[in-house]
């Protein structure tokens, strides 16, 4: 199936600041893509570029094969859910949602009908006569969503739409959004700085940093095989271990474990990722183990994070399920084991 949106070599500078560097990205029909990254990484600029609010210095945007770059925002076949919702305060909820169809030439009656339909989709069919200011944040968020999908765009852009909601509501809306996207069958491009949010909803995650795409992949891919040190550290917790490549092309890890070598991805030295949940407590005496002292114990409830320091001064984090065992305390000596196959070696950074 051909891509819905092709972003080709898009770059954007604001004075001395480079917001986007040579971005290439394809978004498929009905795909849910999350743009994930820290603030200032360019994800919002990329979204604004797709919407037409920001003009790239170079590069092309093709939607269904048509170059939409020269089109003003009001001619682009896509809609946006804004971070602050941007609901029109002088219109009722119903009028807000009917605004899109009205501007696209629908009759008052038809626009009203479609607005009611969209409001029903988000569960607000009874609140059409209210004004946005009379609604809660969560309800306003739904109105913004209804207003953006009422025109049946092929692509919906969402700019951190859940960031103003409290945690519980946010979790619920994440799943609702995902279901709505499947039901509507339109592609979503979702900007977020919350990796959990991205992993919950997206089919594909685009990790961005400093105006560049670091990695594109499913949640599993970017978590278990991060393409760069940045991705490894940004997505979840990570123990990063340096390695050197020897003459035989084997990666020798800087871990105090005898004879641990792995096939190196390329000829240069690099860094390996070991997720905390792959480090486990073992009985002293087993082969291939690390000896360490506990520095901190963080109890989250569902799991416990053990911050340890190995005998040669390397700091690592181990995650164990459930509450910590009673005999463990700060200063306890522990032995840690891991399966070398769980180590992911990041090759030369691009």
């Amino acid at each position: 199936m051909p891509a819905l949106l092709n972003i080709e070599a898009v770059s954007k500078r604001f004075g001395a600041f480079t917001a986007l560097r040579d971005i290439h990205l394809h978004i498929g029909q009905r795909e849910f893509v999350a743009l994930l990254g820290p603030s200032g990484c360019g994800k919002t600029t990329l979204l604004r570029t797709i919407a037409g609010f920001s003009h790239p210095d170079s590069g092309r945007l093709l939607m269904d094969g048509q170059d939409i770059g020269p089109l003003p925002p009001y001619r682009r076949p896509l809609n946006t859910v804004f971070q602050n919702y941007a609901l029109f305060p002088h219109m009722t909820v119903q009028e807000n949602v009917a605004y899109g169809p009205r501007r696209q030439g629908a009759s008052r009656r038809e626009a009203g009908e479609r607005a009611r339909e969209a409001l029903t989709l988000v569960g607000l069919e009874d609140l059409g006569e209210r004004y946005p200011r009379e609604m809660s944040g969560g309800q306003q968020q739904r109105v913004a969503l209804a207003r953006a999908i009422v025109n049946r765009p092929k692509l919906l852009l969402l700019d951190e739409p859940l960031s103003a909601l409290d945690l519980k509501l946010r979790k619920r809306m994440q799943l609702e959004l995902k279901h709505l996207q499947e039901k509507l069958g339109i592609a979503f491009v979702f900007v977020t700085h919350d990796q959990e949010e991205a992993m919950t909803m997206a089919d594909r995650i685009v990790v961005m940093n400093a105006g560049r795409i670091e990695q594109v992949g499913s949640a599993t891919e970017i978590y278990s095989t991060p393409a760069s040190r940045f991705v490894a550290e940004f997505i979840g917790d990570a123990n990063l271990v340096d390695y050197r490549v020897d003459a035989q092309g084997r990666a020798r890890l800087a871990l105090p474990v005898a004879d641990l070598t792995l096939p190196a991805p390329d000829a240069s030295d690099g860094v390996a990722v070991l997720r905390p949940e792959h480090l486990r407590l073992v009985d002293a005496g087993e082969p291939g183990q690390l000896r360490a002292q506990v520095r901190d114990i963080v109890t989250v409830g569902s799991h416990t994070l053990l911050h340890v320091e190995t005998d040669d001064g390397m700091r690592l984090v181990a995650r164990t399920p459930g509450l910590p065992e009673a005999h463990l305390g700060v200063g306890s000596r522990v032995a840690l084991g891991f399966d070398p196959a769980r180590l992911h070696l990041i090759g030369t950074p691009r």
């Binding site: 919407a51 037409g52 009001y74 602050n84 941007a86 029109f88 605004y99 501007r103 004004y131 953006a148």
Partner: protein
């Protein structure tokens, strides 16, 4: 008395006394005078004199026509000007210069500025000379002593109020509303009429009310630019107080002006409330 209330009341006393002495008392004097005759007996005779006279109705009509047109022209000129200042000027220093140019004339006396217009609008004034030299007209336009002349002077004097009121509303507008409108398929024109104008309506209304009330009660500008040919209510009132010394009759004229103005302003305020922040 409640101890906690004494302090705020003491602090309110001074402004309250000021308000009573300088706003309410003079108004009360005018109203009482309008309701009595020279023998100080209560009567509505003054109002009958004002309202039964065709001439007064004509003056009232002229007064309100000039005030309404001044408001309308100020609005039509002021909105684009405010738009230019808040939206199009990117260079902050230039914006500051524009605002100063707008406000500085208000520091000069109204009389001086109106005399300036007398010079400009006269038969051999700058405006007519320019138009004649440019071949745009064959004979000088008669502007002094016409409602058009008064209108030009009034718009000049009152335009800054309109620009500042609308500019304030425009600069406080959340830009994301315009983006949302464009995103939903509205071209710039539709965005202006459906989103920007309704959202700045409170500023428009307050600018209109300000300009209208100042225009309807203006004395200096119409008096100087009328050339004695046109009378507005404030000029009649001034005559009664300063030359005829009939404070009763002058008071009644003042109250009539006040009531007509309040009715108009109340009407405008209603539009602002129902449409503006809905």
């Amino acid at each position: 008395m409640n101890r906690g209330l004494r302090m705020p009341l003491a602090m309110l006393a001074a402004p309250l006394a000021f308000f009573v002495a300088f706003f309410l008392a003079p108004l009360a004097v005018v109203i009482l005078a309008s309701l009595s005759d020279t023998a100080n007996a209560w009567t509505l005779e003054q109002y009958v004199r004002v309202l039964a006279d065709r001439y007064h109705w004509e003056v009232i009509l002229v007064t309100f026509r000039i005030a309404c047109l001044t408001t309308l022209v100020s609005l039509l000129l002021g909105y684009p000007l405010a738009w230019y200042l808040t939206r199009m000027v990117r260079w902050r220093a230039w914006r500051r210069v524009c605002v100063i140019l707008l406000v500085v004339p208000m520091f000069t006396s109204n009389i001086v500025r109106s005399f300036g217009w007398m010079v400009l609008l006269g038969r051999k004034g700058l405006l007519n000379q320019t138009l004649l030299d440019g071949g745009l007209i064959d004979r000088p336009l008669r502007l002094l002593g016409t409602e058009t002349g008064i209108l030009i002077g009034m718009v000049y004097v009152l335009l800054p109020f309109m620009v500042l009121a609308i500019g304030n509303a425009l600069s406080r507008l959340d830009a994301s509303h315009e983006l949302a409108s464009a995103d939903l398929g509205a071209p710039p024109r539709a965005t202006f009429f459906h989103v920007i104008l309704p959202l700045t309506l409170p500023g428009v209304i307050s600018g209109c009310i300000m300009v209208f009330t100042l225009a309807v009660s203006a004395y200096v500008t119409p008096a100087l630019l009328s050339g004695g040919r046109i009378s507005v209510l404030s000029m009649l009132i001034f005559q009664q107080y300063s030359s005829v010394f009939d404070f009763h009759y002058g008071g009644a004229l003042s109250v009539v002006l006040l009531i007509f103005t309040l009715v108009m302003v109340g009407f405008a305020g209603r539009i602002g409330r129902t449409r503006g922040d809905a």
